[in-house]
């Protein structure tokens, strides 16, 4: 496959353009997509860049179809992906469920917009519950919540490898701010950073002749006749998900050692939290910073350890949603006695000032 980035390149671009470049650099073969704001420019850049590198694209009739065509393409052994947002993310829960049930290496980039319903086309962190535990399954998903354009680039590359290595559907959870704003980042070829892109392989349409008895036909199953059959599959996949989780979990932690209050955030809000912690420290307030990068699997042990080590009396959860990240966190650290405070600003941005004011009002 033709090399896309021949040497490290400084760039100043939107998050959507970044995502398209990252998919190209990852060796993605084909994108299936349907227009919805704020992810459209991922398609716009992909449709211009992909033909130069022999990659494919199809604009499908809806998000349901975009998700299922990705399922078909990855089954046939091709690195395929999609991108969506908001109501499109709702529709894609159906194919995402198929990817969970059949362990398909699907990659989806989600640029969150306001909800519920059509909400706004702008920004939110309200697709956390949907992206982590949507569908009629058990949440066998890997969800990276990015905060910067460099991370969008890094985690799209990493996400393809995660999906194909572990065969759980993998999500890059961004938002409308990250999608639309421009900021500097460095584009690179994964191989030059020692990142080996995992070779894809087909689940159907395998080499070898069935008629010449060189191999058995593949019958991929999606629906089971007996309760016990499904039970065994669910237990097996859950055990596998749990066993690989420690390898996948990622988080950031700063100045929690002596913190009286730990500010917990994810995604783009963590940038405000980082600034807030610096400002509070400068004013003599012992604040700490903790940010899960993976929302699924959640850095549960690491957060518990940070709480225990600091002896913090309070956690402040800041999110651009009305408690989705809070509830996710609460179930993960059940039993902790630290008081959980919240700053819920659904569908609007959070800046350092909002967090600093909140901290001062509760300390």
């Amino acid at each position: 496959m033709q090399q896309v980035i021949t040497e490290n390149k400084k760039a100043f671009m939107t998050g959507n353009e970044t995502a398209a470049w990252a998919a190209l650099a990852s060796g993605a073969d084909v994108m299936f997509g349907y227009p919805i704001t704020p992810q459209n420019e991922i398609m716009h850049y992909w449709t211009r860049l992909a033909p130069q590198y022999g990659r494919g694209f199809l604009q499908t009739e809806d998000e349901i179809s975009a998700g299922f065509t990705v399922c078909g393409a990855v089954q046939s052994g091709k690195k395929a992906f999609t991108a969506t947002a908001g109501p499109g993310n709702v529709l894609m829960q159906e194919p995402f469920g198929m990817a969970e049930g059949m362990r398909l290496p699907l990659l989806a980039i989600i640029q969150q917009r306001g909800g519920p319903s059509s909400g706004t086309v702008v920004y939110s962190q309200q697709e956390v519950a949907l992206t982590t535990f949507g569908g009629n399954g058990e949440g066998w998903r890997i969800v990276y919540s990015t905060a910067t354009h460099q991370e969008i680039y890094d985690y799209v590359i990493k996400g393809f490898n995660t999906a194909w290595k572990y065969r759980f559907p993998t999500f890059i959870l961004g938002d409308g701010y990250q999608a639309k704003m421009r900021e500097p980042l460095e584009l690179y070829d994964p191989e030059t950073r020692g990142i080996k892109m995992i070779d894809t392989y087909p689940l159907i349409g395998l080499d070898g002749s069935i008629t010449a008895a060189e191999r058995e036909p593949q019958h991929l199953c999606n629906i089971y006749s007996l309760e016990e059959e499904l039970y065994d599959v669910v237990l097996k996949n859950t055990a596998e998900y749990e066993s690989i989780s420690p390898e996948i979990v990622e988080y950031e932690e700063r100045q929690c050692e002596d913190a009286e209050i730990i500010i917990l955030s994810h995604g783009v809000v963590s940038r405000a939290a980082d600034d807030a912690v610096k400002a509070l420290r400068a004013q003599g307030i012992k604040a700490g910073y903790f940010r899960p990068i993976t929302l699924r699997p959640y850095p549960e042990k690491e957060l518990r350890a940070a709480i225990a080590q600091s002896g913090a009396k309070k956690l402040l959860i800041a999110e651009s949603a009305y408690g989705q990240f809070y509830r996710l966190t609460r179930q993960e650290i059940y039993g902790e006695t630290v008081k959980m405070e919240n700053l819920f600003m659904p569908g609007v941005g959070i800046i350092d000032y909002d967090i600093i004011s909140k901290v001062k009002s509760i300390l």
Binding site: G56, E61, F68, T69, G72, S76, I204, S209, C221
Partner: protein, 251 residues
Amino acid sequence: MQMVAPATPKSWYLPTKPHKFCPGCGHGIVLKALGDVIDELEIQDRTIFGCDIGCSLLSWDFFACDSTQTHHGRTTPVMVGIKRARPELITIGYMGDGGGYSIGSQHLLNAAVRNEKVTLILVNNTNYGMTGGQMAPTTLPGQKTETTPFGRDPELTGYPTKGPEFIAQLTPDSAYVARATVSKYNQLRRFIRNALRNQIEGNGFSFVEVLSTCPTNWRTNAQQTWHFLEDEMEHYFPVGELKNPFGKGGK
């Protein structure tokens, strides 16, 4: 007297035979014809068979071909994804009238408009069989089902969907569109062969609706079953090729 067993297609997956369809169901006949054609065209090693949810799901391990399964109505986009990613494969989507004409109608319609180079076989038995005999888009006027217990009233629920007719209107001349019936086996086989040949030659979309039987949900005996198929269904849904890039009488 010596019993003569009907020849089994080589492409059938024998460990799953006898199959699990109800006695008198037409699926076995459609899948026999499809198996015969896969053998004849020698495409078993490069065929991907994909089935829908509904009675068609019982065919998930029917063939000794690589096969996949998805959700109700979503076989079309899965087959499109496979074909777009691996054009050298022959993709056959197998679905019922509910999956194709109701919940998956937007996929069928748009795949036809895009002239996707896949073959779809849709079995029309005028009801949702697997879920217990509810009204389908193809239920005939006056026909009793679990959700039309007093007979389908077109004033309330419209007239039966005529799939091949609307697909013929949506597709270019390179598409193949036909309606077959399990009561005319040789014709059924010929239509399926033409549909697959159309994909093999890379011409365009190919679609065969097959009129089929459901004595379990129709609550009919053998004679009544055949009467409903040949006299009621075939009267309402004309059998024949609506679009054939190979010309009339194409073999």
